[in-house]
């Protein structure tokens, strides 16, 4: 292991002193007799991009499911803004500002592109409309100025304006991922968990999407926890990186520290640690 990297410590570089927007403490998950996660610590500081990498089956998506509330851990805590939300279901965590996307886009086949963003916006900013619409027929009226502006801006920025009335069933993968990101951002989240947002995209699409993440951090005042198999992209876009292997954190630190970490090289290249690591410096 390289000096200065301690996989056991929950913090990541640059987060000392500040309350992270999202934290997982000593998270363990078992599937039958298999340990999917063992004592995993992770923190996502405010307005940051934290990368989460690891080989297939390392437990990355399982960790995202625990953090988002879709999976209950055997042990451990999840905190949003320092508040323990381990016992809260996924929808209550979402209302505290946690959003996520999925490895295979999870879209609502019965809704249009625009409605994906609308429902997300309303649940966070106009939650009372869930039931009020039924009484005052609010669903038939024009959306609020705030909703219209937010949704229009996001659609325009994502280049989905022309597709806003389309059903999502016929969207290609690239646009499906954009709809997921738009849906996540429409709720003005504090932190977004991105599960392989670049997979399936071609090089140009991938570069365009990854390139916008930094801009979003400032523009939306949001933090990202980014999983992707494109290690180069994750290392180049993240301020801190956590590496999982077989459910255990084997390294954490800055991208440069991760690049030079022997355990990471071994995890990706097996025993051939002498081989050149195909992570660009």
């Amino acid at each position: 292991m390289s000096a200065g990297i301690d996989p056991g410590q929950p913090g990541v570089a640059g987060s000392a002193g500040a309350v992270p927007v999202l934290a997982g403490r000593r998270i363990s998950v078992n599937f039958g007799g298999i340990k999917a996660l063992a004592d995993v610590n992770i923190e996502v500081p405010e307005r940051s991009i934290v990368g989460l990498i690891g080989p297939n089956g390392a437990g990355k998506t399982t960790l995202l499911s625990v953090l988002s509330g879709l999976l209950r851990p055997r042990h451990g805590q999840v905190l949003i803004d320092g508040v323990d939300v381990t016992g809260l279901p996924a929808h209550r965590r979402a209302r505290r500002g946690l959003a996520r996307t999925y490895q295979l886009p999870e879209l609502y086949a019965g809704l249009t592109v625009r409605e994906h963003l609308q429902i997300s916006y309303r649940l966070r900013h106009e939650h009372s409309r869930m039931w009020r619409d039924l009484l005052d027929a609010g669903g038939w009226r024009r959306p609020s100025a705030g909703e219209k502006e937010r949704v229009d801006n996001l659609l325009e920025w994502l280049e989905l304006t022309d597709l806003q009335s389309s059903s999502v069933t016929a969207l290609p993968l690239g646009n499906s991922r954009l709809v997921e990101i738009g849906r996540a951002l429409a709720s003005s989240p504090r932190v977004v968990l991105l599960d392989e947002p670049l997979s399936g995209l071609d090089a140009r699409e991938s570069e365009a999407l990854a390139g916008t993440l930094h801009g979003l951090v400032d523009r939306e005042n949001v933090a990202f926890l980014l999983i992707d198999h494109d290690v180069d992209t994750v290392l180049s876009r993240s301020s801190d990186v956590v590496v999982l292997e077989f459910g255990v954190v084997i390294a954490r630190g800055t991208p440069d520290q991760i690049r030079s970490n022997e355990l990471v090289r071994t995890a990706y290249l097996g025993d051939s640690v002498d081989a050149p690591l195909e992570i660009s410096q």
Partner: protein, 674 residues
């Protein structure tokens, strides 16, 4: 006691055979076959047709019916139907078998005659020999049932586990595509599975007939009881299902012995035992908070990637587009408004028997609307809407006749009572998952039918509770308009729900549970709210039906009749409000047309047509109305051109129509993962 146990064992063995057959079919095909009882009835009736009506001896009659007709029917159903729904959603798979169940019975009666059969023979030669075990009588028919449980279920289980044929079946279950690439002919294997399944159903039918009688009622009751054992086995273990089936029979035998045989209480309790057990199992899991959501039992990712039917429920989503003009450019309100105008004019045109049938049809339309809300909008398979209609009917009747309330408040309270009960049922069952919800609501319906509708206060020796029609419901013409106004009000309420934030939430919950949860939606509470609304509508509809009939009669709300109602709606269109009205009117008018213009022997045709119409959901999930509307729109929309997407120079530089790496559509991707 021993006598009671042995008597119970005979019934238990039949339960075991049925539950084992149902579960093996589910495990090896992914389909919980609601048509199991109908298939068993078909084969048993065919056996009777050969053996008793045409005096064939036992062996050839059994060979031709059980070993010939049964497997042949299975292969036919697989080739014509089940192969198309193998990877479909639970909703479609269940509705297809319900449609099949609804259509097989009338077809059977048309083929073999609608006879009143008192003592159907089994496989034992007549007169049936009776032996004694520890003083308790045991007939040769009963011994044959035990033998078949051991031989058939044990044999099939052993075959699946230890033989090459079993290996073939298991490989096809896991992935048809991979099995095919390994040189296996999956169509043959899957057809074989269905042949064995229908053989087992037929054998169960022939063996059960001497014990439970040869009419469809006890057969469907037998299947419902077998469902209890299947649920106890959590849709996994054939051994547990068979054991629970046997246990249910023994418990029934013992309870029957110690309750007074002539009591009405006994008559209500005995058939309820399996359903009470099923309810206990479900409540136990619900209170333990166990998640019984079923993972796909058949097919792998490759199967779904290459199957055009893998995501066939997505076609339902196409009908979900509720805003904006249709493809033809006409506003979407034109058709429903036109339909309502025609519906309002019809009472002025119709007379005699037709105005009565039409008025009743509009009332049915209201009940059908409850299925549109629950199944069409929410994707929930609730099989007890007819029980809510019954509860609404009895509440309306009791309040208006016994308490003296005016009709409208009585109906509204009837709807509210159903809404509350629906919310409770939903809270207890929804988190268990789709297939369990179907079974739990079926069980709830059967319990209500046996234990509530049979109360002396309500049943009144089969006459039910009277309702007086007067004023705005006095004549059939007035009633038709009254029912139409109720339908329009409820349809507008439903449209308000659809257009609301709650409506969007329901759509989100329906199409992606995890994504809905991670945007802040409570899946349980949203589904419960929708189920409450659906139950409310069913209760109002029940009140209307009872008002039309001038009495709330228990037999009108038999749980299995509700499957026919669902089949009718699905055949016309499960998502459309207009389809609900059309389905209700068709359901009432079509039998009247056959009764008036066609020979009596064709009387079963409407039910068969409704069932076959529901079966078509396998190929056309939208229903016939939506399909034809779409075809018409397609013809009218030839002028329109697709809009050309324009890029935003300040936005993300992603391709609007996807590059080579991202051209896969959601329908294709969904078929990979579901």
């Amino acid at each position: 006691m021993l006598e009671a146990i042995i008597a119970g064992c005979a019934l238990g063995a039949v339960y075991a055979l049925a539950s084992g057959g149902l579960l093996m079919t589910y495990v090896s095909s992914g389909i919980l076959n609601f048509a199991y009882a109908a298939i068993a009835f078909f084969v048993a009736r065919f056996y009777y047709f050969l053996h008793s009506q045409h005096h064939w001896s036992t062996a050839p009659a059994a060979l031709l019916s059980i070993f010939g007709a049964g497997p042949a029917l299975g292969i036919l159903l697989y080739v014509a139907l089940f192969r198309f729904v193998r990877l479909s959603s639970p909703l479609i798979r269940i509705v297809v078998t319900i449609g099949l169940a609804v259509s097989i019975e009338p077809i059977t009666l048309m083929l073999f005659g609608n006879l009143n059969i008192a003592n159907p023979p089994g496989l034992a030669s007549q007169p049936v020999k009776v032996y004694h075990l520890a003083g308790a009588p045991i007939s040769l028919d009963q011994i044959l049932v035990y033998a078949c449980v051991v031989l058939v279920l044990g044999g099939v289980a052993a075959m699946l586990r230890w033989t090459d044929a079993g290996l073939l079946v298991r490989s096809v279950v896991d992935s048809t595509a991979l099995a095919s690439l390994s040189g296996i002919r999956p169509t043959g294997v899957a057809a074989g599975v269905w042949a064995v399944s229908t053989f087992s159903a037929g054998l169960t039918g022939v063996l059960a007939a001497p014990i439970i009688g040869l009419t469809i009622g006890p057969f469907t009751g037998l299947m419902a009881a077998a469902f209890a054992a299947v649920v106890a086995a959590r849709l996994r273990s054939v051994g547990i299902a068979v054991s629970v089936g046997l246990l249910m029979g023994v418990v029934t035998g013992v309870v029957e012995r110690y309750l007074p045989s002539t009591s009405q209480f006994t008559a209500a309790v005995i058939p309820s035992i399996p359903f009470a057990l099923l309810a206990l199992f479900l409540l136990y899991w619900a209170f333990r908070g166990e998640n019984l959501q079923q993972t796909q039992t058949v097919g792998g990712p490759l199967d779904r990637a290459i199957s055009p039917h893998g995501g066939s429920e997505l076609a339902l989503a196409r009908a979900a587009s509720i805003s904006g003009p249709s493809a033809s450019g006409a506003p979407r309100w034109v058709f429903p408004v036109g339909l309502i105008v025609i519906a309002a004019i019809l009472p002025m045109v119709l007379s005699g028997v037709w105005i009565g049938a039409y008025a009743l049809g509009v009332a049915y339309g209201v009940v059908m609307l409850s299925y549109t809300v629950g199944a069409g909008e929410g994707g929930m398979i609730w099989l007890c809407q007819i029980s809510f209609a019954g509860l609404g009917a009895f509440t309306t009747a009791v309040l208006s006749t016994n308490v003296g309330w005016p009709l409208v408040p009585a109906m509204i309270v009837g709807g509210l009572v159903c809404g509350v009960v629906g919310a409770l049922v939903g809270l207890l069952t929804i988190r268990l998952g789709n297939v369990y919800v179907a079974l739990a609501t079926l069980t709830f319906g059967l319990l209500v039918e046996n234990l509530v509708f049979n109360l002396n206060y309500l049943n009144n020796f089969g006459a039910g509770v009277d309702i007086t029609r007067s004023g705005m419901t006095g004549t059939d013409k007035d009633f038709a308009w009254f029912a139409l106004i109720v339908f329009v009000i409820l349809a507008l309420l439903f449209q308000n729900v659809r257009h609301s934030t709650f409506g969007m939430a329901i759509s989100a919950v329906r199409w992606s549970d995890p994504a809905a949860r991670t945007v802040g939606l409570s899946v349980l509470m949203n589904k419960v709210a929708l189920a409450t609304f659906a139950a409310f509508i069913a209760g109002i509809g029940g009140g209307l039906l009872a008002t039309y009939a001038q009495a709330a009669i228990p037999d009108s709300y038999a749980t299995f009749s509700g499957l026919l109602w669902l089949a009718v709606l699905v055949a016309v269109g499960v998502r459309s409000t207009s389809a609900a009205l059309i389905a209700g009117v068709l359901f009432s008018l079509l039998p009247e047309v056959f009764l008036t213009y066609v020979p009596t022997s064709w009387g079963q045709v409407p039910a068969a047509l409704f069932g076959l119409g529901a079966v078509l959901i396998a190929r056309n999930p939208e229903g016939t109305l939506a399909m034809h509307a779409r075809q018409l729109e397609g013809l009218l929309s030839w002028r329109r051109r697709p809009a050309v997407a324009s890029g935003n120079p300040d936005g993300l530089a992603l391709a609007q129509v996807g590059g080579a790496g991202s051209s896969q559509t959601r329908a294709e991707r969904e078929s990979v993962v579901r």
